[in-house]
Amino acid sequence: MKTLCRKNLVLSFLLALLLVSGAVSTVVAAPVITAVLNTDKLPLNQTGQLTVTINREGRLEKPEAKGVHLSYASKIENRSYRISSIAGNQKDISTIFIFRVTAEHEGKYTIPPIRLITTDKTYASTPVKFEVVAPVKTAKNAANTGGTTIQLPGMQLRQGIIGQSAPQQVKPEKAMQESESAFFTIKTKQNIYEGENIPIEIKLCLNPEVDFQSLSMPQVAAEDLAIPALDKKGAKEDKEEINGKIWHTLTWQTTLSGIKPGKHQLDITGQATVRVPDSSGQQPRSQRDIFNATPEEILAEMMSHRAFGNPFADNFTPMIRKDLALEKSATFTVEPLPEEGRPADFTGAVGSFTLNTSVSSHRVEAGDPLTLSVEVSGTGNFKSITMPKMAENQAIKTYPPAEKFTPVGWNAGEKTFDQGIIIKNSSVTELPAVSFNYFDPQKKIYVTKSSSPIPLTVTGAGYTPQPEPQESTAGQATAAVSADQPLPLKVDLGSTTTDLRPIPRRPWFILSCFAALLAALAAFILRHVHTSQRTARRSVQRQLTSRLAGDLASVDKAQQAGDGHLFLNTCRVAIQNRLAGSCGVHASAVSSSNLREILPKDSVLLEVFQMAENAAYGGEVPTDFEMDQLYPMIRKALEVIK
């Protein structure tokens, strides 16, 4: 009982330590860049794997080391969520770059620090030291065979401390044969023609009962056979029943073609790392004294999902890692293409194709460009398909085509050629047919596909490749030359500028437009104000003239009536109305003192106004003769006033 308590106490302490270390790891950032070589002793005839892991976005400088050849193999981007008890969920972004390492001579080597350049800082890994030793004979299950070991995304089948997968039964090592853990299958036809593209299916079958720690990307090797490298993107993951047993499968569907006639072998290799129970004779952990084990050993056990499911379990089975080498070969017989019936312009296309043509316009002016689109679709080796040839015509000028390939499905596709064409004169009535040849491996014959001629309506006199007439300017070399020939060089440098921007982007243009608009607007407003004022003045003038006419009519009437009092009174009113504006007072308020300020002393108006004021207080009134004399003078004086 006492021992059990002590054991639980120690385990609790270790668990707490684990949690604290996890928390600390969220605070203390992991190294931004690490570089690890999969072995410290690399046999000369084998390839090592350098894994560079970066935890920040940036530019990675390619590692280089003297005497060592480093070649880039692949890149894996990892984006996962980490559960942290302190900071909550955190997103981890890490990228793994895999490099193959080979050396030419035995000896000790050092790969210098690899630099990662980010936007704000440059990070460097620690140097990697290793030794290249004498070549060894390759053993199937030898550890560190130098293959690329990559954990495929989604293939961490029974791994991870957070994984809640059920404990599994791991088979004893003795029974653990490669074929029972994992194997490759190849499905394709094996008799092919030279240049023929055939579909091939490569399948990696994985035993779901095996605890796979890591799995390498399968490598394909073949001489005189063309097959694209397999990548993680192209793999389809599935489950399949094979011989009454369910297997995890990774399937790559790709194409293979024979380059040279003969028998050629295709080799597919891969590596896997599995965890198997240790059968080296060690006792299970529970049977040993757990307090004699090192903390690392106990933590390693706790990290295992088998133990983590029950941290206080007694049955700690010791586990070891084991590397498995997987391989599969297939032999292909590549037959040469038959000489018989081979067209002279055969370019090597093998498969089954159809041909379609179209033109951008059926009506064109001589000299204007047209685009002829030729579409070749079907299955086969599209790389060997070139622009189908058109029958020669002196009146048609063709240009190198632009080509575009669109894959359709697995082994099919569509290749389009857009060719520029110029019809030189109106004698052309159709675009000649285009044709191309291919070898049909099913029918074992050469096939020639031809399109129909495309009718055209060509207008215009013809293609005249002359430049436009130019005015001869001083200092410029000018000459009438063919448009197919370059024109002479210019000999006068002319005025220079450092501003290449188009006119609308130049400040002077924007300022000029703004200034012109402003000037026009200002002038328009000023003109409008002036016009308004002039109109107002004219209106006042019209009113005054009208009033004067009325007043003068009254004066005339009084004169006709011979009424001196009325004559003087109407004269006074007329003078007041006429001069009120000049005096700046209301008409009825105009007095003789106001008039003296604005009229000359001998003015008849002043005299008559004075007479009118005197007459109001009993003064003399003018006689008929005087009125006859005064009226024209008053009229003239009033009309003169503006």
Partner: protein
Amino acid sequence: MNKNILISIIFFTAIVFQAFLSSAATLFDKANTNVIAGNYSRAIEQYNQLREEQGSSPALFYNLARAFEENGQRGLAILNYSRAESLAPGDAEIISALDRIRKANGLFEEEAQSWQHRFTSLLNLNHWSELLLGALLCYATLQLLLLLRSVDKKVAITISTLCGLVVAASTTAIALQWQTMDAMIVISDSAKLWLSPIKGSDEVQGLREGRKVLPLKQHGDFCYVEDSGGTKGWVEKNAVVAVDGR
């Protein structure tokens, strides 16, 4: 005394300026001679030196384009012909050379289909701009003239109406051609349009050297462009150069 100093300064400045112009002309002549002699690389160096020291001119761009063309660098040749055309829009030699090199390399521009495009392509952007400025200046002059003296009303209305029409037409044309001001030329013979702005992404299609593209947006070392056929994609920035030298 002061008068003599002023005369000396003016005289000295004139001599220096004359020497400056003379050295530029000499370098230009040397570069031209190298083109004729077939030393295209040397000529290109000299033209570029002249550009850095004196600035650019239509003639300089034209001859530089010729040197690139003879040197087999058709992308850079088309770029410099385009720059020459932007500085001297009406130059028949430049237009003819640009047309010739494009045709020779199968770089046909798509024909304008809509009436807007047909209308705006009657003149180039610089011509439309000059027309706009001319119309605005004409209208401003008319307004100032009307302010100072009387002008026949019919004449004033006719001129104002014409100016208004020209301003409306040129403003519309500039607005429709605004995007073409950012035009870029593909200078790499291996340029491609990519689906995403990352290395190793899927290829949309190849871009022919000398092809004109319009930039739409940028991301890192990539530029999202549209070619004359309407195809859009990402192209590496170092594969294209803006005509206006941005």
